[in-house]
């Protein structure tokens, strides 16, 4: 009797464990095109950021994803996330960025099918997910309050030399950044330059005003966001110079979502060809096509 009970208990535990594993395994797998079409909705992971995802239900990347959902014939669903969780919410694993590499940590629930919110292509991100073709150009800049003693550099004509000049200016200065994003000070080795890096945990759009109020001597911003901040609050901040060469933004897909990514490429090629994409860019970033003519030609 006892042996029988133990045997039943073992079998039950095994089944439970198997079920849990299967469940977890299923949760760890992102959805691909077939499943999305079956469920009838595309889940767009977004973090409110500049005019890519405004937070008011629109934005360049929001409209692109809405059109993509329409292209697939499914419903569009926005899933709000944060910079800290955007990659885990896509791939179902926590990630620790380590320079150009990434460490996969605990499994988490997959909450979305695609990331698009001014999502910069970074080497460590490329290790854990797949990017689409570039959707927007960018560059990492160092900004400072208008009244700061830190002065904008005089461009040398060589971006690498300009980057070196800018990094030197961060010595002994507190610099705001956002970990695990393209604004992570560690990506630009600012600590090695003598900067005091501060991790900003608020909304990215609030970082410039936080810097002006004294949260930091300088801050790391992407160029599109910096230009918007200059327009919104002229005379409050100034762009010192570049911390990176020109980079690119793109939509992010889980490694498993191969067909979804391929379909996005077809869709994206189509809206670029028929002018829809450029129209959307001019709507949200009117000066971008002229400021980055090579990218948008």
């Amino acid at each position: 009797m006892k042996t029988k009970l133990i045997s039943i208990a073992r079998k039950t535990a095994f089944v439970a464990l198997f079920a849990a594993t299967a469940f977890t395994a299923t949760q760890a797998l992102a959805r691909d095109l077939d499943e999305i079409k079956k469920t009838g909705s595309l889940k767009h992971l977004g973090v409110p950021y500049a005019n890519f995802v405004t937070g008011s239900g629109d934005g360049l990347d929001v409209e692109i994803m809405q059109l993509f959902a329409k292209h697939l014939g499914v419903k569009y669903e926005y899933v709000k996330t944060s910079w800290e969780n955007v990659v885990p919410d896509l791939i179902g694993r926590k990630v620790k960025a380590d320079g150009d590499n990434a460490q996969l940590l605990d499994k988490v629930e997959v909450k979305g099918d695609v990331v698009a919110n001014g999502f910069t292509v970074l080497p460590w991100r490329q290790k854990v997910l797949n990017f689409s073709s570039p959707t927007f150009p960018t560059q990492i800049m160092l900004v400072a309050p208008a009244a700061s003693a830190v002065k904008p550099i005089k461009p040398s004509g060589n971006v690498d030399l300009d980057i070196v000049a800018v990094k030197k200016l961060t010595k002994s200065k507190s610099t705001l950044g956002v970990e695990n994003t393209c604004l992570d000070p560690s990506l630009y080795k600012l600590k090695e330059e003598g900067a005091k890096t501060i991790s900003f945990t608020g909304a990215l759009d609030d970082m410039p005003s936080a810097m002006v109020k004294g949260a930091g001597d300088t801050a790391i911003m992407e160029m599109p966001d910096a230009l918007l901040a200059l327009k919104k609050s002229p005379g409050q901040i100034k762009v010192i110079g570049p911390l990176s060469p020109t980079q690119e933004m793109a939509a992010g897909f889980a490694k498993d979502s191969v067909k979804l990514r391929e379909e996005f490429e077809k869709f994206y090629g189509g809206i670029k060809k028929d002018g829809t994409y450029l129209k959307l860019v001019k709507k949200y970033y009117p000066s971008a096509p002229d400021f980055y003519p090579a990218f948008f030609k």
């Binding site: 800049m141 327009k231 570049p242 000066s287």
Partner: protein, 339 residues
């Protein structure tokens, strides 16, 4: 005694009638002169009134054009206050470079200017052909015309409140330029330049509906006419505000005299020229014609009346003599009968 030699001794009624006649004659002549003079004055005043009416019509038209130009000046003042322009100068003052941020401000300015050009229309036609922003040294900062002709800074302009209007007759289609200095924190920082579309301006604000044939209007400066021209133009340098006759030709090439009037457009180098047919301005007949006709008619009537009076007087005289002769003859006959 014949009817041809009727004389009256002094103091007789006949001589009295002569004096009275002369007096009445003088009165009548004086009255006639008065009527002729008054008629002539009236005709002259009527003609002057017609001329003044035409002059006022053209002056009113010139005021309409002045209002249009005032609105354009306000456009430039509005543009100068654009946030995009202040952002640029703010960022420039902070030392930002064109490569890293400042250039984007200029793109925003150009985008805004392009929107402004597309927005400012009259009857669906653009009012402006081009808007540009120069820096204090004359460098081009923003320009709606890609590859447009070079624009130089005008160092004579200093007052930021003043919008100057300049004309370059060589710049066909965009002869009229508005220019305004830009100041940032009290320092001269650049100039805003806008070019009006001459075809739009002329078509909608200079040309008048052809309610009467033979009337034309043109725009000019001291250098010449800038509207689209036709053959046999009036001279561009006529005296201002005065009717000026000039020789032209009709459609068959026959000589035709016309009248032109040149009115200044305030606060600008522009002049409005209106041309008319002679009849439209001075009437179909000169002022002396009516009094002359009246005078000739009066003389004719007067002469006729005098002739009729003379003839009547002679007849009366003849009848009187005849009656006297008959009476004398009768008396003689009676006397002879009685003796």
């Amino acid at each position: 005694m014949t009817t041809a030699s009727i004389t009256h001794p002094a103091g007789t009624p006949g001589r009295k009638w002569g004096i009275a006649g002369i007096f009445v004659g003088v009165l009548l002549a004086g009255y006639l002169l008065f009527v002729l003079t008054t008629t002539y004055d009236t005709q002259v005043k009527l003609q002057d009134s017609l001329v003044e009416q035409q002059r006022q019509g053209v002056a009113k038209h010139a005021i309409t054009i002045e209002h249009f130009l005032d609105e354009r000046r306000n456009d430039l003042r509005y543009l100068a206050d654009a946030r995009e322009i202040s952002v640029y100068f703010e960022n420039k003052a902070l030392g930002m470079s064109m490569e890293y941020g400042l250039g984007s401000s200029l793109i925003d300015i150009t985008t805004y200017f392009r929107y402004f050009v597309a927005d400012r229309k009259t009857a669906s036609e653009p009012i402006y052909t081009r808007i540009a922003l120069l820096d204090a040294a004359g460098g081009m900062l923003a320009d709606t015309a890609e590859g447009g002709a070079a624009i130089t800074v005008d160092s004579t302009l200093a007052d930021p409140a003043q919008v100057a209007i300049r004309v370059d007759t060589q710049r066909i289609g965009a002869e009229i330029e508005l220019r305004m200095p830009i100041a940032y924190k009290g320092q001269a920082s650049g100039q805003l330049v806008a070019f009006l579309s001459t075809p739009t301006f002329v078509e909608h604000f200079v040309r008048q509906p052809a309610d009467r044939p033979g009337r034309q209007t043109f725009l000019s400066t001291e250098q010449g006419i800038i509207s689209p021209t036709v053959a046999h133009m009036p001279p561009a340098n006529m005296a201002l505000s005065k009717m000026h006759r000039y020789d032209s030709y009709d459609s068959d090439g026959a000589p035709l005299e016309r009248v032109a009037l040149r009115i200044p457009i305030a606060d600008s180098p522009l002049r409005l020229i209106a041309t008319f047919t002679v009849d439209d301005v001075f009437g179909s007949s000169p002022p002396w014609r009516m009094p002359l006709t009246l005078a000739l008619l009066t003389l004719f009537i007067g002469a006729g009346t005098f002739y009729a009076y003379r003839a009547n007087t002679r007849n009366l005289l003849l009848k009187t003599r005849l009656d006297e002769a008959r009476a004398a003859n009768y008396a003689k006959t009676r006397f002879l009968e009685n003796t």
